[in-house]
Symmetry: C2
Subunit: 396 residues, 2 copies
């Protein structure tokens, strides 16, 4: 029997990330592909103690249905950290769910949605289910270019989706003056900003730039996550929104999963309530900063001329560009890379339109230093070969 | 600033259930409104021991990102219980999420969706976000009437949504011969069946009727839940679907929340793997059966003539009908009931069309027996007054 499915489901194709995650399950593969945080960064002992307290305190409440908005003490904790009223905070089942809820509340078929070039693949997927028309905003190596936002470009846009801190996939951080310009232009043109910020705490030096939310709380939907500072297996994120949008997001959430698991919310709150994050996050910053330097050093040693990459100030990713104009496609090269037991994520799926196929994303946080060195050496050799045998290189 | 929101979000109105849950938070209210399972039924000690094992065994895996399909041992456990291949099983964040995913994959704006009369409010909400046209199928006190399904009624329907076991809100169980007739007609007319079965295990005598899934695995999407047999605060449900639909549901889930929390999946599996459900479910059946009898006895003592209700064989609900033809509206009467500190859920929101406003749902599982007696006595008096002063009664 062939069942009739929705138009949106017909458009769903197998995700590049899914296919790649399958490959990287082989232990011999050195994977720079995953977006997984390092398990070494999970505060296991603190979470185990917190869970014991949840069972000791009020297990019946921890295991019962609860309010859609989320566990009040956890919402208060978040509200305080972000200096907003608790009535604006909604707990979500990972920040991926926040993307789904935002799409439900804001996107009709054909709605204009502004995205960075490139942008987070998971967001493009979540939004796509609701059939928007994406408009790509130009970026350079500092991120989104606010001066590109004109009345014409933004006309009728439901929102602009941005990742100002250590963006997935590029690792770029938007400078302060660009944040100010972005908020000013968004205000001028009446564009709602959706700020996705899972990596904001992961600045290697600990310096943090103000969020877009802090610059204009009534014009920003802010998305945060415990996945990179506590543990992703809890699937805990949150969204801070202006009151009228908060209310709609809650209603959409109620229809989507009633509420995020009470149990994980209470475990997370018991884990962080005494200030653990202030002690714990610096250890993640140090770990990731060290891993990043190892990869940057290896890239400097092994990459052939013409390959370029950024120097992240935080986060989990480096964005690499193979020489332009040679017709190089990182997706095609990945097949050979995997044969040599190294994986990365090709850049093309991160573009809403006109993909730059010479780009790729490298994640460095879960790979031991000696394997980073080894994997980058293999990639360096492979890219050298690819450049030498590129269609345009041969033609020249 | 008034932001432009989606057409579906404009349709979202405050849910009757949400408003009622607020009222019932006052401790003096005797609430027959909640659909909450009894906390006395949560196997807390077993879950606490299971959680300790999860932390002891492999905490890094329990706290890390994982596959969208769900934790394989838990999927295998479910596949075995339902005698299907594990490749058909997808773990969801509560069965509410299964409703959302099914809607995403199967409903376009204007798609015909067949529902029982009345049907589960949470399903109507989840489906409504995707803007279907509901067609209500007639029911009587045994549930859905299969002979109502004709070629004309079912033409072009994306699916038929049914709760054959102890339906929410009516508590009705579909007899075996109706199940057989339903499956036969669905097959004849090419209608996909969506079987929602959170209460199937809660037969008071332990006798269970075959699922629609077991009668035609390739024509049924089956939804199950751990909420009523373990604990709802874990938000763990599952969906069993024919392979091509399973694949689409997984893709939709990936965009919706990546995966259900790894932590809760492992805790649930560690709780049930040694056969706990076989020992535990009989205790829930006994508890709920006893509570149901207390309410049935109280209803028989206190309800005025003309009020009728069913005698559930399982589940958590009794469906009550005030006399017809008097213009009685259980929603209007609820305001007075709450003033007298008793709550229930009015029947109207459970109808996709043409609500019968003289109906209401009573939940009995969380209220102590003496409070059931007290609350039903108050309702009996109130309904007697309402009947006496009903518009049509006065006019007569």
């Amino acid at each position: 029997m062939q069942w009739a499915i929705s138009r949106r489901a017909q458009q769903l194709t197998s995700s590049a990330i899914r296919e790649i995650l399958k490959v990287t399950e082989r232990p011999e593969v050195i994977s720079f592909a995953g977006g997984l945080p390092s398990p070494a960064s999970f505060p296991v002992a603190a979470m185990e103690a917190a869970t014991a307290r949840v069972f000791a305190d009020n297990p019946a409440a921890a295991l019962q249905y609860a309010a859609t908005e989320g566990y009040l003490p956890l919402r208060e904790f978040i509200a305080k950290r972000h200096n907003v009223g608790v009535e604006r905070v909604l707990i979500t089942t990972g920040s991926q769910q926040a993307l789904d809820l935002i799409a439900k509340v804001l996107i009709d078929p054909g709605s204009k949605v502004l995205v960075e070039t490139p942008s987070y693949l998971g967001a493009l997927q979540a939004f796509s289910l609701f059939e928007p028309e994406f408009t790509s905003i130009p970026t350079d190596d500092k991120g989104l270019q606010p001066e590109a936002l004109t009345a014409e470009l933004t006309a009728g846009a439901r929102f602009l989706y941005a990742l100002p801190n250590f963006q997935n996939p590029t690792g770029r951080r938007l400078p302060l003056e660009r944040r100010q310009a972005l908020v000013a232009r968004a205000r001028e043109f009446g564009v709602l900003l959706v700020e996705d910020d899972p990596y904001g705490e992961l600045s290697y030096t600990g310096d943090q730039l103000p969020t877009l939310l802090s610059m204009n709380p009534d014009g920003v939907i802010y998305m945060g996550s415990f996945s990179k500072i506590l543990a992703p297996g809890l699937r805990l994120g949150f969204v801070i929104a202006p009151p009228e949008l908060h209310f709609k997001l809650c209603q959409a959430k109620q229809a989507s999963d009633l509420h995020t698991p009470t149990f994980t919310q209470r475990v997370a709150y018991e884990t962080v309530r005494d200030g653990l994050l202030d002690r714990h996050i610096p250890t993640i910053r140090e770990l990731y900063g060290k891993q990043c330097r190892v990869m940057l050093d290896a890239l400097a040693r092994h990459m052939p001329e013409g390959v370029s990459w950024n120097q992240p100030e935080g986060g989990m990713f480096i964005w690499l560009q193979l020489p332009q104009g040679l017709g190089l496609d990182s997706m095609a090269i990945l097949e050979e890379a995997v044969k040599r037991n190294v994986a990365y994520v090709p850049g093309a799926p991160f573009y809403a339109s006109n993909p730059q196929r010479n780009t790729l994303r490298l994640a460095f946080v879960t790979v031991p230093p000696e394997r980073i060195e080894q994997g980058v050496a293999i990639l360096g050799k492979l890219f050298r070969e690819a450049i030498a045998s590129a269609p345009q290189a041969r033609a020249a």
